[in-house]
C-alpha cells in the first residue's frame, strides 16, 4: 500500500460506516461502541501519519481537534431512538472533515463538496423553504462551484475561491448563514461536533491562502471583522435559543482571527492554536447545553436556572466553560503579540485591533455572564426532577477543556 493513500482511507472508513448506518437499522449501543472504536483507530492512523508521511503539524492538530470533538460527541450522546441517526451523522461528518483536512488538491476538494452537499441535502429536506433557506442553498452552491473550479484556475482566482470558502467555514458576517443554520438544525450532541469541524476546515482554508492576501484585502477583512464582531456580539446578547447563542458567540470570536491577520504575522503560529481553542470551548458550551436538551428537551436558555445548587456538576462545568471563554481573546494576544512587527506596523491597524478586541472583550463579558446568570446562578425551579451529569459527560467536557487549554497555552 502506498503511504499517500492512508489519509484517503482514514477519511473513507467513518464515511462508509456513516453511510451504512444511515440506510440501515441497528442497536444504538453497538453503533456507539463501533463509532468509538473507529475513532480510536483513526487516532492511531493520525499517529502513523505523523511519523510515516511528511505532513504539516498544524494540519494534524486540526484533524486531532476534529477527532477529540467527535469522540466527546459520541461518548455523551444519550442512547435513545434519536441516537442512531446522530451517530450516523457524526461518522459522515467525521469522514468528510478528515477528508478535507488530510487530503490535498482535487481529493480534498471532492470531500469538501461532499460535506457541502451533505449540508445542502439536510437543508433540502425542509418542506417549505424560506427565503433564508434559499439564500443558504445558493451560498452552498457557490461554495461547491468555487471549491471545484479552484483546482483548475490560476493563482488569483484560486486565492479568491479559497477566501470565499475560508469566510464560509471560519464564519464572518455576512458569510455566516450556512454555519448558523447547520448549528441550529443539528440534533443532540452533533451541534458541538459541527462547530469544531466547521472551524477546523475554515482554519485549514485560511492557512492555505493567508500568505497571498494583499494589504488591501487584509484592510477590508479587518473592517468586516469589526462589523461582524459588533453584530455577532449584539446578536448573542439578545439570544434565547442555546444553539444560536453558541453560533453567534463563535462568530464574534472568529472575527478576532480575521481582524488580527492584518497586524499579527505567521497566522499558523497564533491563529491555528487560537482557532482550535475557540472551537473546543464553544463545542464544550454547546455540549453542556445539549445535556439539558437531552434531559428536558428545552432549547431556551433560562428555563433551568440555579443549576449550581440542583445539578452541581453541570453547574460547575458551565462556570468553568464560561470562565475559560471569558479569557479567549487573551490567547491570540499571548501568542500573536510576540510575532507582531514593532514600530513598522501601521498605526491605524493598531487602532482597529484595539477596537476589535474591545468589542469582543466587552461583548463576551456581557453575554457569557448573562448566560451564566440564566443557567448556573439564580433560584432553582422546584417543579423539575434533576439528574446531574454522569461520569462520561464530565469526562467529555474535561477532555475538551484540557485540549483547549493545551492548544491555547502550550501550542
Amino acid at each position: 500500500m502506498h503511504f499517500n493513500n492512508i489519509p484517503f482511507i482514514l477519511s473513507l472508513v467513518p464515511l462508509i460506516f456513516g453511510a451504512i448506518w444511515t440506510f440501515s437499522n441497528g442497536s444504538s449501543t453497538i453503533r456507539k461502541s463501533v463509532g468509538l472504536t473507529v475513532i480510536g483507530a483513526l487516532a492511531g492512523g493520525l499517529i502513523y501519519i505523523r511519523f510515516a508521511i511528511e505532513t504539516e503539524p498544524s494540519i494534524l492538530f486540526l484533524a486531532s481537534a476534529v477527532l477529540v470533538s467527535g469522540f466527546c460527541s459520541l461518548l455523551c450522546q444519550e442512547d435513545s431512538q434519536e441516537a442512531s441517526p446522530i451517530y450516523a451523522s457524526v461518522m459522515i461528518v467525521l469522514g468528510f472533515g478528515f477528508g478535507v483536512l488530510l487530503n490535498e488538491a482535487i481529493v480534498g476538494r471532492i470531500f469538501l463538496c461532499g460535506l457541502l452537499g451533505y449540508i445542502a441535502y439536510s437543508l433540502n429536506q425542509e418542506q417549505q423553504k424560506t427565503f433564508r433557506t434559499k439564500i443558504i442553498l445558493l451560498h452552498i452552491v457557490f461554495a461547491i462551484t468555487f471549491a471545484l473550479s479552484s483546482v483548475f484556475m490560476g493563482e488569483t482566482a484560486q486565492m479568491l475561491a479559497g477566501l470565499f470558502l475560508a469566510l464560509t467555514f471560519l464564519p464572518l458576517a455576512p458569510f455566516h448563514l450556512p454555519f448558523v443554520r447547520t448549528i441550529k438544525d443539528a440534533k443532540g450532541t452533533l451541534s458541538s461536533f459541527w462547530i469544531v469541524v466547521w472551524l477546523m476546515i475554515g482554519l485549514g482554508e485560511l492557512k492555505t491562502i493567508y500568505s497571498f492576501l494583499t494589504a488591501e484585502i487584509l484592510f477590508v477583512l479587518s473592517l468586516l471583522a469589526i462589523l461582524s464582531a459588533i453584530y455577532a456580539s449584539l446578536a448573542s446578547l439578545g439570544q434565547k435559543v442555546n444553539s444560536l447563542f453558541v453560533a453567534s458567540a463563535t462568530l464574534a470570536h472568529s472575527s478576532l482571527i480575521w481582524g488580527l491577520l492584518q497586524v499579527f504575522t505567521s497566522f499558523p503560529k497564533w491563529g491555528i492554536p487560537f482557532g482550535i481553542t475557540l472551537a473546543l470551548v464553544m463545542g464544550g458550551i454547546s455540549l453542556a447545553f445539549s445535556f439539558v436538551q437531552m434531559r428536558y428537551g428545552w432549547k431556551t436558555i433560562g428555563n433551568l436556572p440555579g443549576l449550581l445548587s440542583t445539578m452541581p456538576r453541570l453547574g460547575v462545568v458551565i462556570v468553568l466553560l464560561v470562565s475559560f471563554a471569558l479569557f479567549l481573546p487573551l490567547f491570540p494576544a499571548y501568542s500573536g503579540l510576540g510575532l507582531m512587527p514593532t514600530i513598522e506596523t501601521q498605526d491605524v491597524g493598531v487602532v482597529m485591533i484595539s477596537l476589535l478586541f474591545s468589542v469582543v472583550w466587552l461583548g463576551g463579558g456581557w453575554y457569557f455572564i448573562k448566560m451564566l446568570h440564566q443557567t448556573a446562578f439564580g433560584e432553582a425551579r422546584t417543579d423539575v426532577p434533576y439528574f446531574d451529569l454522569g461520569p462520561k459527560e464530565v469526562f467529555s467536557i474535561s477532555v475538551l477543556l484540557l485540549a483547549a487549554a493545551y492548544s491555547g497555552i502550550i501550542l
Partner: protein, 563 residues
Amino acid sequence: MTIPILILLFPLLASIVIRVFGNRMLSHVAKVGVIATTISFFLAVWVLYHVSVEGAVHIMLWPPNSESSSIFKIGMLVDRLAAVMMVLITSVSIVIHVYSIRYLEGDSGYARFFALLSFMTFVILSLVSSPNLFMLFVFWQLLSLALYLILAFNFPNRPACENAFKTFFAHRVGDASFLCGIFLAYKYFGTLEFNELFRLATEQPQMISLFSGMFNISAVTAIALLVFVGAIAKSSQFPLHVWLPDTMDSPTPVSALMHAGIVNAGGFLLNRLAPFYGLTPNTLHIVFVVGLLTVVMGASMMLAQNDIKKTLGFSTMAQMGYMIMECGLGAFALAIFHLIAHGLFKASLFLHSGQGIHTSREEPEFPDPSAHEVKISFDQLSFFTGLIITLVLPLIILMVAHDMLNIPLQNAHGAVILLFFAWVTTSQVMFSLFRFQAVASWKISSAMIVSLFFIGFTYLWAAEAFTHFLYPGAGVADGFFIAAALNPIVFDLLVLLATLLILISWIYVYADSKGQKIFIVQWINSIKKRLYMLLINRFYIDLSYERWSRNILRLAQKLGHGF
C-alpha cells in the same frame, strides 16, 4: 532565593486542597486557609526584610531560557514595593480568614468560600509580584473573575448576582483599555518587562501618528492613559465608580477584603509604573483631576446615605480618589502609605459593621422622659484654635512653594505636596474635634495642637521616610514630584480655593453654633434639597448607564431575533 515563590504557593495549595477535599473535611477547612496565609505572612515579612537589605529579587520561572522571545514570561519581581504589598495582603487576609470562621459557620458554601478566599489571596499576591505587564494583566483578569465569583457567592440571590455582574463589567471596560495599552507598549517598545520598558521609554521616546499625521501623541502618554483606565475601574474612580457602593449584598468579609485589598490595585498599578508615568506630566495631571473628581463625588454621595455599609462604600471611593490624587501629584509612595493605613482601617470598620447593624436592630429603648436635651455651648477657644491652625498651614504651603521657606526634606519638591495633604487631613481633624464641645475647651484645643504636630510628623517625617524607602534611588522620588508639578498659578489658586472653602465652613459652624441663620437662607435651603436629590441619585450616572444598557439590550434582542 525561592522563598517568595512559597508566599504564593501556600495560599494556592490551600485553595486547591479546600476545593477538592473541602466537603470531606469541613471542620478543617478554615484551619487550612488560616495556616497557609499565616505562613505566607511570616515569609512575606522575612522577604520584606531581605529585599530592604539585599535589594530586589528577580525570579524567572518560565520559559527556562531567559533569552526567550516569548512575551508571557512567568516569574516574580519582589522589590520593596511588592514586599510591602505582600505583607499588607497576607495580614489582611489572615484577619478576614479568622473572622469568616464564625461568620459563615453553617453556610452551605463554607468550603467554597474559603477556597475562593485563598485563591484570591494567591491572585493578589501574584499580581503585586508580577515582573511584566502581561503577567500582571493575566492576574488582573483572574482577580476580576475571582471577585465576581466571590461577590456572587450567594448565587440564588438575584441582586447579589446582578451587582457582581456590574462589578465584573465595569472592570472589563477598564481591562479592555489596559489590554490596548499593552498592545501599544509592545508595539512601540518591543518588551513588556518593567525595567526594560522603563529604560526604553526614557531612552527612545516614540510618537504615535494617526490619520496621516492629523493626530499625534507621545506613545508613553497614550500607553499611560490607556493603562490608567484599568486602574480607574479597579479603584472605583469616576466614571467607572458605579460598582463599589453596590457590592454590599456579599458577605461582610468579602466587603472587608474588597475595601482593604482589591480596590488598592489601581494605586499599586500606578506605583508599579511610576517611572513610566513620571515621563508624562500631562497624564499625571489627568490622574490628579480624576482623583479629585472622585474625592468630591464619593465624599458628597456618602453624606446622603442611610445604610452603614453603603456609607463605608462611598467613603472608600473617596479615599481611593484621594490615593489616585496623590499619584497624580507625584506622591506615589504616599499613595501606598495611604493605601496601607486605609486598608487596615476600613477592614476593621467593615468587620465591625455587622455588630453595629445587629445593635441597631435590637428592641429600641424609650428615652428617659426626665432627661433634658443637653444644649451644646459654643466654645471660643477651640473655635479659634481650629480656625488658626487650618489657616496657618496654607500660608506655610504657599511660602514653601514660592521658596520663601525651606523645609529640609530628602525629596525637596515633595514638601509642598506632603504639606498639602497634611493640611487637608488636619482640617478634617479640626472640624471633627470641634464637634466634641461638651468636653472642656482647653482639652479640645490641646488635642487640636497635638493633632497638628502628629499629622505634620506623619507626613513630613514618616511619609517622607517611606517615600525614600520605596524609591531609594537618588532623585527618583524627587523626579516624580517635579514631573507632576502643577502650574504655579493653578497650584496657588487651588490652595486659595481650598482655604476659602475651609473659611466658609468655619463661618457656617460659627453661625450654626450661635443659632443664627446665615444669609440667603431660602436659596441655600433650595440648593440643599436639590443637592440631596442629586446625591441620593448618585448624580444620575448609574441611571444613565442603566438606560444605555437597556437600549443596547433592546437592539440586541432585535438582532438576536433575526440572527
